[in-house]
Structures are given as C-alpha cells and as structure tokens.
C-alpha cells in the first residue's frame, strides 16, 4: 500500500500521482493521511485503484471519478463525487451539499446524513444514503429517468 501525506506532499502532487496510475497498475491501494478538509482530493481518477482517505475532506472529493474506489474515513464537504462517471465513493460520515450532483454512473454511498441537493440533476449515478437527506435531493433527477437515490432515513422538507 502506498501512503501519501497530503499536508507534507501537497494536493497537486497527490492528484498527479493518482492520475498517473493506469489500468494495469500494480499500485492498487493508496492511503491519504492528513486530509484536513482540503479541497479536490482524488478528483478525476481513471484507474481501478482504491484510495482510503483517513479523515474529513473538503469540496469536490472524488469528483469526476472513473473506475476508482474512494473511501472517506470521515465526513465530506460540498460537491463530493460530483459528476462521477463510474466506480465507487463511500463516505463513512456525513456529506455536505450536492453530493453526487450531475453524476453519470457509479455508486455513491453516504453512511451518515446527506445535506441538501444530494444527487441534483443526476444522470445515471446510484446513491445510497444510510441517514437523512436534505431538501431538493435528486431534484431534476427524474427528468433523466436514470439512477436511483436510496435513503434509509427521512427527507428533510
């Protein structure tokens, strides 16, 4: 397993290293430490790798993901897994606004609660929320007739 210290090595270094992984990579397991709410962690990945982020993330974690499995061992900020194409993003804690917005495919699992606009304008992504979801969740999603939001809690307003 490769360990990456985000605080010491920086976001650009992390994302370019992960972007450099290809379909046949042997380095399939990655651990990111000290995320400290940073923005855009593991965005735009396109390889069958697993990334475990040990802590909470900021805006846009896992955005535009293809193929990769991204686990956030904490809570996630706004725009998590936005426009995901395929693969899987799992949030152990809560997710802020518009998680999975405009997603085309893949699976987003939020084990805690999701905030407002979860799955807004979704186009094929599947979203499972163990807790509650906020207002305007999946708004506009039905127009596209694809993708599901499954929730175990209540929808707030």
């Amino acid at each position: 397993m490769q360990t990456f210290d985000l605080e010491a090595q920086g976001l650009r270094e992390l994302n370019s290293t992960l972007h450099a992984q290809v379909k046949e990579t042997n380095q399939t397991s990655w651990e990111v430490i000290n995320p400290k709410g940073s923005h855009a962690i593991a965005v735009g990945l396109d390889a069958p790798i697993e990334v475990n982020i040990k802590g909470s993330t900021g805006y846009y974690c896992g955005g535009m993901n293809k193929q990769a499995t991204i686990n956030v061992l904490g809570s996630a900020g706004p725009g998590t897994a936005e426009n995901m194409m395929s693969g899987k993003v799992v949030i152990d804690g809560d997710a802020s606004q518009y998680a999975g917005a405009t997603g085309h495919g893949g699976l987003l699992v939020i084990k805690g609660n999701a905030s407002s606009r979860c799955g807004i304008s979704m186009k094929g992504i599947n979203i499972v929320v163990h807790g509650n979801i906020g207002h305007m969740s999946a708004f506009h999603g039905s127009i596209w007739k694809s993708g599901c939001v499954w929730r175990c809690g209540r929808c707030i307003r």
């Binding site: 400290k36 725009g79 802020s96 606004q97 407002s116 807004i120 906020g134 207002h135 506009h140």
Partner: protein, 316 residues
C-alpha cells in the same frame, strides 16, 4: 425549464464556494480564554481564499477590570487620535483612556458614559468612525489579506470569552474598511454574514423610519440593525434570529455575537456553507471544516452542518 433551474442551483452552489468566509469561537472552558485570539486568527487566515479583500474580527474580552469600551477607526490615526482622550474627557467630564492599535483605538470609558462619549467623538473628531461600543466588545477590521489584518492588530495575542471573524469577497458594496465585517449596530452586538440580502434597501428604509441608525449602504449592516432593533423591542437573540427568517430575503448564513451569547442561522435554502463543532471546551463555527482542523480535540468533537432555517445559540 427544470433543466435551467437545476443548472442555476448548481451555479449558486459554485458561487458559494467563494464569496466570504466566516469563523467563530465560543469558549466554554476558561482555560482556553488566553488563546482565543491565537485560535481565531488561525481560523481566519485559513479562510483567506474565500475572502481576500478585507477581514475583521469582533472579540469579547475577559478583562474584569474593564468597564465600558468604544473601538474607533481612522484613516489618519496619528493626527486624529492625538490627544483625543483628553479632549473627550474635557467635553464629557468623565475619565477616558485611549489605547492605539494601528488604525484603530480602544477608548476605555464608564459604561454609563458611552452615549456621551459617542456624541463627543462626533463633535471633536467627525472623521473618526465608531466600530463598536459596549462592555466587552472590540471590533477590528481593515482592507487587506486576513493575515495582514490579523498581524496589524496583533489578534493572536488577544484573550477573551468568544469572538467572530470574517474574510470578505465583496459583492454588494465597495471594498472599504466600513464595508468590511463584522458590523455592530448595538452595544456588545455584532454580526458577520456570508451571502447577499435582496430586500436590504426596503428594510433599511423601514428601520430608518423607526429611528434605527444605519451607517452604510451595505446589506449586512441592515441585517445587523434588524437584529438590534428586534432585541431593543424585547426579543432574545434566539427570537430575533427566528424572526429574521420571515423578514429577511436572500442568501444568508449569519453568525451573531452578544455580550454573553453566540448564535447561528442560515436561510431556508442554505446555499452558503457552514460547519459547526462542539466539545466540552468550545463551540466553533467555520464556513468550511478546514477552518476548524487545528482546534484542540477536533478529532473527538461533534461536527455537523447547521440545518437550514434553524436557529442555534449558546450563552455563557
């Protein structure tokens, strides 16, 4: 049509990534009070990329010897603050002492003489601006990067019971000292705001008709004046925040300070981001979790996103 609305909502969300940062810290543990300024300035500087235009803080001091205080500001402090304490003493007949901090100064006065001292300031130094008045509040705000503003006023050395801060990316009015947050419209009261109010002009007219003094054309000051007005009419901080949900229109996440209280409210759509954390030692607020990551015990804190149209407040 629906597609356009969804797109617009996503764009609002995008906009909300920027446009101002708010931080706040309400201490429950007295042992942390000497570190309030240090923790608050670290939180403020972390929010620089949300608001690099100007920054400000309101800090509620814990000096038990202090009576009342008025924070003032001048673009020409050397000239305007010179001998000001003596001139105000001579005009009002009450004892006044002055402590200068860069473009700001704190006048220590007796609480009962605050109205007279305010009048005296207007009379002897019409160009000096009053930032705040009350028993414990001090407000410092200036144009510039948050780290420069914090260093200028030595915020990290300040101690206190609670404080709030703001980094501004201006949208509704000019980048000036007076357009920076926090705004104070009543003794020991202040407010910071992320968002934009759409009915501030009509509300300003209404409040002015009721005799409320509003200094600038800034939308946030109207929000602050509204809450002050409600509390003057007998509402508690919590009740005033509740009624703001009916009377204010637009986007807002407000963080409000009073002498012994600290409150948060978000509009019903709640586009503007907010994260809170609570431990046995403190309640903290940040526009983003990043602002909270260096607080003591944050790993074990209860961290949550305040619900839309829901009032939260704490008192000492």
């Amino acid at each position: 049509m629906l597609k356009n609305i969804a797109y617009t909502l996503i764009q609002f969300n995008r906009g909300s990534q920027q446009m101002c940062g708010i931080v706040g810290l309400f201490l429950k543990d007295k042992n942390l009070e000497p570190e309030l300024g240090m923790m608050l300035s670290d939180m403020l500087v972390t929010m620089t990329d949300r608001g690099p235009d100007s920054a400000g803080i309101a800090i509620y001091g814990n000096d038990e010897k202090s009576d009342g205080k008025i924070t003032i500001q001048s673009d020409n402090p050397d000239e305007n603050f010179k001998n000001l304490d003596n001139e105000i003493s001579a005009t009002t007949g009450s004892s006044v002492s002055l402590k200068i901090k860069s473009t700001h100064a704190v006048l220590n006065v007796e609480t009962s003489s605050i109205p007279a001292v305010r009048r005296a300031i207007k009379e002897v130094r019409p160009n000096v601006r009053i930032m705040s008045a009350g028993d414990t509040i001090e407000i410092y705000k200036e144009v510039g990067l948050p780290k420069d503003v914090a260093a200028r006023f030595d915020v990290s050395k300040m101690s206190g019971t609670h404080g709030i801060g703001h980094t501004r990316m201006a949208t509704e009015s000019a980048v000036t000292t007076m357009g920076a947050h926090p705004f104070s419209t009543g003794n020991d009261q202040c407010l910071v705001h992320n968002g934009s109010l759409s009915n501030h002009n009509s509300l300003r007219r209404k409040l002015r008709r009721e005799g409320v003094h509003i200094e600038t054309e800034n939308d946030t000051e109207v929000g602050a004046a509204y809450l002050t007005y409600k509390m003057q009419q007998g509402s508690t901080l919590g009740e005033a925040l509740e009624s703001s949900l009916d009377d204010l229109d637009g986007f807002f996440t407000f963080l409000v300070g009073t002498k012994d209280g600290f409150g948060v409210v978000r509009d019903p759509i709640a586009c503007k981001p907010a994260v809170m954390a609570e431990t046995d030692q403190y309640v903290a607020f940040g526009s983003e979790y990043r602002a909270l990551v260096n607080l003591p015990g944050i790993e074990e804190a209860r961290v949550w996103e305040p619900e839309p149209a829901t009032v939260y407040f704490w008192t000492h």
